[in-house]
Amino acid sequence: MVIEGLFYTKEHEWAKVDGDTATIGITDYAQEQLGEITFVELPAVGKEVKQKDELAVVESSKAASDVYSPMSGKVTQVNSDLESTPEQINDDCYNAGWICTIEITDAKVIDNLMDSKQYEEYLNGL
């Protein structure tokens, strides 16, 4: 499942841009690959990241996967519900399974991301 209006990375993160804030999560393809997610390591609020920097770690019984930041900016909020209910990412990766929000400092890097159509084509090629 791919949602229109979001931006995507090749590493299967999504970003929803609203003004100068981006909400970040992992895609349906990524959660499906990981299987039952049992642990999420969230970034610290205030952390400054560049695009492609490590942002979080998502782990299932089968794999640990780094989540890379699709954006450059400062982490403003984290979804701390995921610490006790990480399975929200499996259940609803585009809404309740959001990982954090970032205050965008460099909007140019959005050009490096795929839109939903491009991401869908990318998935078809995998």
Binding site: T38, E59, S61
Partner: protein
């Protein structure tokens, strides 16, 4: 051609091949998308169908069906098949009766474990040997080297040759006609009920009901010729392996699923196969056996399958020394595992009550709200049985920057992340 070196060490490198689907691949594709498959030993195998935990629970509460058609199946036939197997395998193979099966190891002359196998005696002069899919090419090359006198048999008598040359056939090779077999496993308490409902002959139903662990017989399941063996890799008290013709495997698979549905029987993937065997305490070659720690059967808890006192088997002298020298062992431990607890992984450190690293995690699985890990730790720690700790290794650059180590060294003092305790080496269900 693969040969052993002067010390009796046999090494073999698998050819890199593109992974292919198993004979049940098209059946699986009806249930799951392509991205649910993983490459395993040259095959594309399903990781899970519903979820690892649902499949795990199905095997413990009703039953699960496993695609094991990737497993290697070799037939050893002829007058000297028995004597040949008794020399290449470590257990009392010579005493194996028709209709029974036995767990065994194949070693090289240096005492390295090349594979763990099950030998099934089908008739007076016919044996079936199931080998690990990942080891099949190596075992075939080793057998060929032995038969061609290219591998050392006895390091104490390097001139010693094998006189026995049994007829060895690959049972999965379609050229072998109606004798061909592949393995499908049906594991769990309801497996008996389902199989009984598919056997028409009264006598065969009785035989199945009375079939003991590690015994087998031939029958028909709704018209499909099968060897049914009460063996498996899940720890289930009631569980079977069904050996069927590869061309019939897909039909039998879908029939078993259809008829098993009302009993709660579901298809299971590699994920549940791994979590079930870990929970049961069963070793996986390359992890709890051989592998980077070169773990031997005595360390793995299977010394009973290595008959050091028998007249001769390949690797006996070397194994005798290894059995005496051991000071590390495989243990099963329990760790917290509720949601939000980071899963333990291979190489994470195991700490004693003083925070000293006494060994490492080999495999780990989440089972309900716990984690069960198979670990390789010092025998002295197992004897003392102190409360343990687990040290997570860094999994990313960010964690290393925060001070997490990416390697736990023996006897190093570390801060435990979660507590653990040793539990019985094997679980009973």
């Amino acid at each position: 051609m693969a040969k052993s070196d002067n010390l009796g060490h046999f090494s073999f490198k698998n050819n890199e091949k593109t992974a292919v689907g198993s004979v049940l691949y098209n059946e699986h594709l009806r249930l799951i998308e392509k991205n649910r498959f993983a490459e395993f030993a040259g095959y594309l195998m399903p990781l899970w169908f519903s979820s690892i935990s649902a499949e795990h629970n199905a095997v413990r509460e009703s039953a699960g069906l496993f695609d094991c058609t990737h497993m290697g199946i070799l037939e050893f036939a002829g007058k000297n098949a028995r004597d040949f197997l008794n020399i290449i395998a470590t257990n009392d193979t010579g005493k194996l009766k028709t209709g029974s099966a036995q767990y065994n190891y194949i070693l090289d002359a240096a005492g390295n474990v090349l594979d763990d196998i099950i030998i099934y005696r089908l008739s007076e002069d016919k044996y079936m040997v199931v080998v690990n899919a990942a080891n099949e090419p190596k075992i075939k090359a080793y057998l060929e080297a032995l038969i061609n006198n290219d591998a050392i048999v006895d390091i104490e008598k390097p001139q010693r040759k094998l006189d026995y040359k049994p007829a060895i056939r690959d049972m999965r090779d379609p050229n072998n006609g109606t004798d061909c077999r592949v393995d499908i496993a049906l594991q769990g308490p309801k497996s008996m009920v389902l199989l009984l409902s598919m056997i028409s002959k009264e006598k065969d139903r009785e035989q199945l009901e009375n079939l003991k662990s590690f015994h087998l017989f031939e029958t028909e399941l709704d018209g499909y010729d099968c060897i049914i063996s009460r063996t498996g890799y899940t720890g289930a008290k009631i569980g079977f392996e069904l050996f069927v013709h590869p061309e019939k495997a897909a039909d039998l698979w879908s029939l078993l699923l259809e008829k098993g549905k009302s009993l709660g029987i579901i298809p299971c993937g590699l994920g549940a196969r791994d979590s079930l065997r870990i929970e049961a305490g069963l070793p996986l070659y390359g992890h709890e056996l051989a592998g980077e720690f070169n773990i031997n059967p005595f360390e793995a808890g299977y010394g009973w399958a290595v008959k050091l006192e028998k007249e001769f088997f390949i690797g006996q002298a070397a194994m005798r020394k290894k059995a005496e020298a051991r000071n590390m062992q495989v243990a099963r431990i329990e760790l917290p595992g509720q949601k939000g607890i980071r899963p333990a992984r291979s190489h994470d450190g195991i700490l004693d009550e003083n925070g000293l690293c006494v060994g490492w995690v080999l495999s780990c699985a989440g089972v309900s709200d716990k984690q069960i890990a198979l670990v390789y730790i010092s025998s002295k720690t197992i004897e003392r049985n102190p409360p343990l700790g687990l040290y997570y290794l860094a999994r990313s650059k960010g964690q290393i920057e925060k001070g997490k180590k990416d390697k736990a060294r023996k006897n190093e003092k570390l801060e435990p992340d979660i507590p653990g305790k040793i539990i019985e080496r094997f679980a009973k269900f």
